[in-house]
Structure formats: structure tokens, C-alpha cells
Symmetry: C2
Subunit: 559 residues, 2 copies
């Protein structure tokens, strides 16, 4: 397929994406239901078969030269080893290949690159079900969530990044005949403007969202002409490896060196992430993961003037002052706490309730103890719903996350809802536990203002609504947050909270009580992250998310 | 005047600026000739009178609270003390006032801010002549250049920054009703998006272009909602103080706290720049100046995740391989070397000529010695032109710059053109000297790859054109450059040079032999700086120049 026909084929998609980014209305290029009617009646079975065939065999789909070594140490949180190995490529080889691949990639026009990348996404989307199973059995997400998060939702985020990058790069003309009138004479210069990618774009992935958190930086880097190296998490390589292999094939099919995108697989014992971060040819770094290694990445890269986009960790808070419908509100909070067992960087952790209780529209007031009881009840209703519970909770990716529940219990705080083992149908060995909710004394900010990643939440009673908002704002400034969620039916209180929390640098959600949860951000409409607090500086995908990846350089010729 | 009427009044200007930025055709909102027909028959005399009245008196036009202390140590390079004092404001007071002023400034819409800023520029433009005299007698620039560089050219750069900032901030909607269809039901969220300025924007000015190099960052910072503190150079405060005072008045007239923009005047003996750089409320820094303090700014600010835009120093090179008209080409180079005595960050320093000589379109070949003779002759013709010479050269801002000519002579390199004292009519004490041009042996890159800021140039003979281009590319990578200039009539050589130099990260100009010089970049058309080499990361004004100054934060409400 020629470049010209790719451009023609994907022009409507790119136009729709650009329009969605401008208007921020609902738009999804890939539908979210894992339905046979949409993706083909055999798609699910085919995906599962591909997944099973891949287990315990080398992953050979990458177009990434031959390497003698292989690595692989993925374990399903549902209780078995994946047994897949990936080619190991050393840092120097990765950099050498990336630089070579850049030579042609950087000379394509932004529209050519964008069209190739949409084609790559379309091809990779044919593997949504395998990606879903691969995600389920590396991250522990329930299958439906795994399908959506690594499939349509992630791919829409990737398309969004491609679109924002294309719009930014083409916002000015790439050539002009410039004539300056100077009284009776004039002077003419032929000008052109070249997009110059900054260098190698390293993307460091995480174990919980190996596709969703990787593709925005990966596609933004590619769309702006940079070669990209994806350093996947050793515990969650399979899902992104499928995507990378498909992108490589789409590149090769139009005659582009597939090493424009490479997988850098390593092991927990012999990690290569820091060597890549430090390499002088690596000029852009996207990082998602824990705050400790994130701080190391920043310390190494920022003083060298490298572009660094981070999403580290934060402490997400909820304030409940008044609600229209208490059951609906706490169902929403219960789901947000339970979804993937709190292993989302956007999941709430601390729930603040004023000592005076929560006002309900029907006139009743729920005392803090009633609120706690209601929350426990709504979590129970979800967890014990045989159809919805296990899939919502999924399994715990990392043993240390599971251990944290024990640590929380050791605090000796009063228990609102105890955690318990959850049976995952078909997977007796799954590491699955339901959320623990504790009362935290308001003066124990030393505890609740730490991130307790996983199924641990705290309820905190504050003097008043204003007091709660102030505490949340201070927490955002000190520890960062990806989300905040406030329940108040009072519009003046809404305005005050929005002002305080936006000023602190956090996105704000109000009164969620339906099929939208604070954990989720919609591509083309919601920015993911604010980039304005210690949780990180990356935002999927504002303009800044792409403009740090290239320069525009002028060429002037006397006419 | 109401905000609504300001928006209406300046809409055509903002629309024209946005269109110019997109199309990059010639556009100048303020005409460059210092002509009475354009700016009013008495404008020049009025400006000179205002300048003379200001000498030896305190500058009282700032709306910047009362401060007990005053500082001022400006000296005209034309040989007299200005004797002007400026209010001194300590760092804590500056920060306190800036933060207070931000409260309202940040809540205005991007269009409101942009309209107020255009109004401020229009008002300040009424002082172009005084600004011109103030610039001449702080920087040493000849008057016409001073008028243009600090007046129309600078103001067009400021308008450009305002326009780029407005377009970026309004590229997506600020509110939407978002409805997600979910089969038989749907869910609706009311969304809004808030521009959140990052914090205080510090702009550190330089002594040679106190307005031109300050206003892009200053107006980009203001346009994106940040309060701005301008730390002017103690040797060149007067011109930017006039601008700041007018912006403050324009703000106050629409009821905005004028401390949105403040002048931070200090002294060489007790500088406050670094204290401001380090202050935790300062989140954005624009820096123009020497590379040593520039490196300090980066070392202090980058690890803290502050946004830093720098323009430090570079070594700008010329390669001459073949020309259409030798006199026209070397007239152009001679002017570029002489304009403001090489005190432009964009001025050429090193001229590379292949050993085989320079081919002229008429068939002759100029041996390197002929080339040197021709260059010296064209410089002489300009310098000794009584009408054009002194005004083109201007005076040397800093004594150390003048001393550098002596240091260059001490190298013992063969002299192509000796430097000499230049008489500036009316100013017998002016520090004015003509350019020194030396032969530099090609193996003395240790000398010529250093920046010799001021009227010092080197001619270097290389093996070939390709050798010269390679050396220039290597120099750009190692030492940075704001400009490169190549003369070759061979289109294949042009393509090869453009590829190599853009890859190294420098803008490229070809065959300039008319009324455009490599030193000059045209607002709305030429980016100033590439942001892609060690000379700095700032570019006036690409999109990145504004997007690092704010975040976009989403607010979602369940409908």
C-alpha cells in the first residue's frame, strides 16, 4: 500500500479526531464493548486461542533484528507463569538502530507519519482480544476492563496523541515566498520550515497499564518524527509487544525501517531503564510508574535539558458534603474504589466527610457512621455480586500491593469494611482481595496522605466542607493527585471547591452518580492528569504533550 | 474603556497576527521606519525631549507601590552617565505582589488578556522614539537600529507571542456538554476546561537587547495568565521600564492590579536574579544573556521542574563556496559583521572558505586571499561611509567587549582587516570601534569555536565545501549557534548543507545578498533561535514557547 493511499484512507479518521479534540464532545474511534457484533463473532475465541498458543513460547513477532538472548518473567496474577520470552537487545544496539531508523522517519511529512500510525493502530486493533487476555494475565485486570483499557480506550488515546501532534506540527505553513515591501523596492526570500525531532524518545511502561499508559507517549514521539524505544515493565511486556510488532509491520510495509519503534525488554534483576535514561542520544522520556524511580528519572534527565513527561503517583481524594441520591453516589464511589482493586493511579483513596454529616436531597442527614455503613454496604453489594464482582476487582498485580493491605490493618485504625479473599472463577490461585476501608483520624495525615496503592481506602471526618476542601488542596500540592471528586449540591460550594482544587493543580469531578467514574478519563474529551502537581507533568494529551518533542527550524533562501 | 470594547477594538489586530503566524508571509503591525510621516511629525523631537528630561532624575512612571530605595547605574556607551534611578523592590515584596495580582489576572479569559496586552502595546508604541533614544544610550546601538529593534521589531515579536499564546489556549473549547451513548441509555457530563498559569514568570533581560529579547517571554507569560517579573540588566533598564510602565497603566485602566507586571531593578554589586530564579513561587524563567549565568539558571531551575527558556550564546558561521555576485554577497556579510559591532547573538563570527576558492557566476574564481581582500574592502566601504558607517556600528555596550578586540590581536593571527576607533558624530567619548577580521588556522578550532562576542571575526580556509559544512555542523552541536549562512549556487550543495545544519540544530540562510541579513529574524515569519542546540532552547515564538507556561485542567459535573 502506497503512502498516498494511506493518507487518503485515514484522512477521515484524522479529521474526526482533530474535530473531537477541538470540540471535546464524545468520540470513540474504536467501540468499547468487547462484542462479537463489533469485532467479529470469532474475535474473542481467536484472541483466546492466540493467547494460549503464545504461552510458554518465545514471542517471535517483532521485526527487531536477531538477538541471541531472550528474557521473560511474566506471571499471571491469576496464578500461573506465562512462560513467554522476548528478544533482549542491549542499550547500544537499541540506540544505534533507533538513530539509523530516524534518518528516513524524520524526513516524512507529519501527515505521512500520522497516516502510517493510524494504519498501524487499525492493524493492531485486530488483536484487541489477544491484547485483552495478555493484559488480564499480566496486570490482573478483569477481562472486560483489560480489553477496554488496553484496546479501544488506549487506542483512542494513541489516536488522540497522533492528532494533537499532527495539528501542532501543521499549525503553520511549511513553506512561503516572503516579500518585504521597502518603499520603491522589495526583497523576496524563499522560506521553508522543517520539523526536527529532538532525538530518541524513551517510553518507560508500568505493570498495571502496559498499553494505556505507554501508547500516548509512544505515538506522540513517533508522530513528531522521533524513533521510540519502549522499555516495558518486565512483568507486563506481552500486551505492548503485540502492539509494537504490528506497528513495526505497518512501517515495514511502506518501506520504513521498523526499528523506528523497538521493544526494550529487560528483567527485574538486570534492568536497563536507567542506562537508557542516561544515554545522551535519548532526548525525550515518558515515564509512568512509582514515584521513587520517577524521581531518579527526573534527577538524571532534567538537568541535561531532556524533555521528561512523568506520571508518578498521587493521593486522590473525595469530599462528600451533600448528595442527590445517597445510594447512587456511594455506588459510584464503591465502584471507583473497587475497580481493578484500587490499582489505578486515578482511583480514590481518602474520603472526607464533614462531622455534621452528609445532606441528602430528601432532607435526611447521614451521620459519618451512617456514611461509613452505606459505603461498606455498597462495596459489599458489588463485591458479592457474582456476575460483576470478581471481574470488577480483578487480581492484584504485585505481591507487595497485596501485602500493603496487611500493613494497613497493622495501623490499628477502626475498620469500616474488612478485606477478604475473593474467588476468581476458573482461577483458584488468583491473588484477589476486596477493598479494605478504614477510619483514619483527621490528625493522622502522616498516614492517609501517603499513597496506599491498591485496595486500601480511608474515611476521614473533618470539621466542615471547607476544612475538607482545604485539606484536599494541601494534599494535592504536597503529594499530587490525578483526580479529585466532590459531592455537593450547593453551587456556591461547587464553585469554591473548583477554584481551590484547580488552583492546587488537580482536575475536579462533581457528583458522579451514574456510569462515569472518577478513575476514567475519556480520550478526546478529558485530559488525563493535570501536569500541574507532584503526581507528574504529563497530560494526555494537551498541546504541551507533543510540543516538547520537536523543534521547528527555518531555512531561508534569497530569491 | 471596558474590556468588551478592548476586545472589539483589537480583534482585527489579533486576527491579522494569527493569520500571519499561520501563513508566515510578511506582516508588520508597527512600521519599521522611524519616520514622522508614520509616527507623527513631532514624535522624534518629543521622544528626544522626553529622553533628555528623564536623564539625571528618578524614573517615576511605574505603578509599583512605594519603595524607599532606588538604584541606577546606566552609562551611555556614547560617553555619559544617564543618572536615572529606579525603585528597588526586594524579592519577597515582588513575589507577594505578583501572587496577589495573579488572583484576578488568571481568571480573565485568554481573549481578555490578549486584548488588554495589545492595548498595552499600542499605548507603549506611542513612546517608540523615547524607547529608541533610551536603547541607543544603554546598549550603544545606532539610533535607527535602536528605534527598530526596541520599537516596531520588538513589539511585533511581543504581538506574535500574544497571538501564539491566544491560539494555543483557545485551540480547544473551554466548555462542552458531553453525552456518551451506552446502548439504550446515555450519560451526560458538563465539562469545562480551565487555563491554569504555572506561577510567577521571571524574565531576565540582557544589556544589548533590553526590549527585543525581553518582550517575547514577558508577553507570552502574561498572555498565559502568569504574573511577570522583569529582572532587567542594571546597564539597560530604561527602555524596558518605559514599556513596563505603559503595560501597568493599561492594566490599571481596566481595573487589573498593575503588579501583574513588575520591574525588578538591581545593581551589578547586589544582584537579585539568582534569588528570584531560586524562589519556589517562580515557575517559569526566560533568560537571555551570557552562557555562564545561563548555565547557573539551568542548574538551579531545571531539576526543580521549572520551565526554562534560554537564549545564551553561540558561534555563528558562514560558508562561502560560490556566489552570483561577489560584491553583493560580501556587502551583505560585511554589513552582518558590522551591524551593532557584532554585538548580536545572531551575528556571524567565522567565515569558512574552501582552499580552492570561491566561484563567481561570471566564471572567475576568488582565491582565499582575494576573498579576504574583498571582505576587508566591503567592510571599509561601509565603515568609512560617513552617512551609514557610524550608525551601523554604534558603540560597544560593555568595556569587556571592547577589550576582547585586544585579546584577539594578542593571538598573533594574521590580520585581514584591522580594527580602529570610529568617530560617532556628536559623541566624542563614544566607545566605538570597527570590526577586526583575522585569519584563523583551520586547526585552531580551540580559538575560533569560542564565542568572541563583539567586533571580532575569523576567516578559516578549509579543504572543501563539504569539510566546511561538517565543521560548522560540529561547531553547532558543540557550541550552539543562532544562525548559519551558506553561499552556494549549487542546489545539490544547498540541499546537503541544509540537511546537515538542520540536523545539527541550526537555522540556515542561503545566498543573502540584498536587504535581508542573517542577523535579523522577521516576526511572524522567521523563528528566532532553533531551541535545538546549546545556544538555548527558546524560540520566538513557536508553540512550545507558550505551552510550557500553563496547564489545562478539567472540571466535570454530572448533569
Amino acid at each position: 500500500m502506497s503512502l498516498a493511499s494511506l493518507i487518503e484512507r485515514h484522512a477521515p479518521t484524522l479529521a474526526a479526531a482533530a474535530e473531537a479534540n477541538r470540540t471535546r464532545t464524545f468520540f470513540a474511534h474504536w467501540p468499547e464493548p468487547p462484542s462479537g457484533k463489533i469485532y467479529g463473532e470469532t474475535a474473542s475465541a481467536d484472541g483466546e486461542a492466540a493467547f494460549k498458543a503464545q504461552l510458554n513460547t518465545p514471542f517471535t513477532r517483532l521485526l527487531q533484528g536477531a538477538t541471541p538472548d531472550a528474557v521473560g518473567e511474566e506471571q499471571s496474577p491469576y496464578g500461573f507463569d506465562l512462560g513467554i520470552t522476548y528478544p533482549y537487545t542491549d542499550v547500544d544496539t537499541l540506540v544505534l538502530r533507533a538513530n539509523h531508523a530516524k534518518l528516513t522517519w524524520a524526513t516524512l511529512t507529519p501527515l505521512e507519519r500520522a497516516s502510517i500510525l493510524v494504519e498501524a493502530l487499525e492493524r493492531a486493533s485486530k488483536h484487541f482480544f489477544e491484547i485483552g487476555f495478555a493484559t488480564q494475565h499480566t496486570t490482573g485486570q478483569g477481562f472486560v476492563m483489560a480489553f477496554q483499557a488496553s484496546g479501544p480506550h488506549a487506542f483512542d488515546r494513541a489516536l488522540e496523541a497522533v492528532s494533537v501532534a499532527l495539528e501542532a506540527q501543521t499549525s503553520s505553513t511549511d513553506a512561503v515566498t516572503w516579500t518585504k515591501p521597502m518603499g520603491k523596492i522589495s526583497v523576496t526570500i524563499e522560506k521553508s520550515y522543517v520539523i526536527r525531532p529532538k532525538g530518541i524518545n524513551l517510553v518507560i511502561g508500568c505493570s498495571t497499564f502496559p498499553v494505556w499508559n505507554t501508547v500516548p507517549g509512544m505515538f506522540a514521539g513517533l508522530a513528531t518524527g522521533n524513533p521510540v524505544i519502549v522499555k516495558s515493565h518486565p512483568g507486563a511486556t506481552y500486551p505492548i509487544a503485540i502492539v509494537i510488532a504490528e506497528v513495526q509491520r505497518a512501517l515495514a510495509d511502506v518501506g520504513v525501517d521498523p526499528h523506528v519503534i523497538q521493544l526494550a525488554a529487560d528483567t527485574v534483576g538486570a534492568p536497563i531503564g536507567l542506562d537508557l535514561v542516561r544515554h545522551h542520544e535519548v532526548r525525550i522520556i515518558d515515564y509512568t510508574g512509582g514515584p521513587v524511580f520517577g524521581a531518579t528519572v527526573e534527577r538524571e534527565a532534567l538537568p541535561l535539558g531532556k524533555t521528561v513527561y512523568t506520571e508518578k503517583a498521587g493521593v486522590n481524594c473525595v469530599v462528600v458534603e451533600s448528595v442527590k441520591d445517597a445510594n447512587a453516589a456511594f455506588d459510584n464511589i464503591a465502584f471507583a474504589l473497587s475497580l481493578y482493586s484500587g490499582q489505578m493511579c486515578t482511583a480514590p483513596q481518602n474520603i472526607f466527610v464533614p462531622a455534621t454529616g452528609v445532606k441528602v436531597a430528601d432532607g435526611t442527614v447521614l451521620a459519618p457512621a451512617d456514611v461509613a455503613r452505606l459505603l461498606a454496604e455498597r462495596i459489599d453489594a458489588l463485591v458479592h455480586n457474582e456476575k460483576a464482582g470478581p471481574g470488577t476487582l480483578g487480581a492484584i498485580q504485585n505481591e507487595r500491593t497485596a501485602d500493603r493491605v496487611g500493613e494497613a490493618l497493622d495501623l490499628g485504625f477502626e475498620i469500616i469494611r474488612p478485606s477478604a479473599f475473593v474467588q476468581q472463577p476458573g482461577f483458584d490461585q488468583a491473588r484477589s482481595i476486596s477493598p479494605l476501608v478504614l477510619w483514619a483520624p483527621v490528625d493522622r495525615a502522616d498516614v492517609y496522605e501517603r499513597e496506599w496503592f491498591g485496595p486500601v481506602a480511608f474515611m476521614v471526618v473533618t470539621e466542615s466542607f471547607d476544612d475538607a476542601v482545604e485539606r484536599v488542596a494541601a494534599s494535592v500540592r504536597a503529594h499530587g493527585a490525578l483526580t479529585t471528586l466532590v459531592y455537593t449540591t450547593d453551587e456556591r460550594k461547587q464553585d469554591a471547591a473548583a477554584e481551590a482544587l484547580v488552583d492546587a493543580g488537580a482536575p475536579v469531578a462533581f457528583n458522579f452518580d451514574s456510569f462515569v467514574w472518577v478513575n476514567q478519563s475519556a480520550a478526546f474529551s478529558d485530559y488525563h492528569g493535570a501536569g500541574a502537581n507532584p503526581a507528574g507533568n504529563a497530560t494526555f494529551a494537551d498541546i504541551q504533550f507533543v510540543t516538547g518533542r520537536y523543534n521547528v527550524i527555518g531555512i531561508r533562501k534569497q530569491a
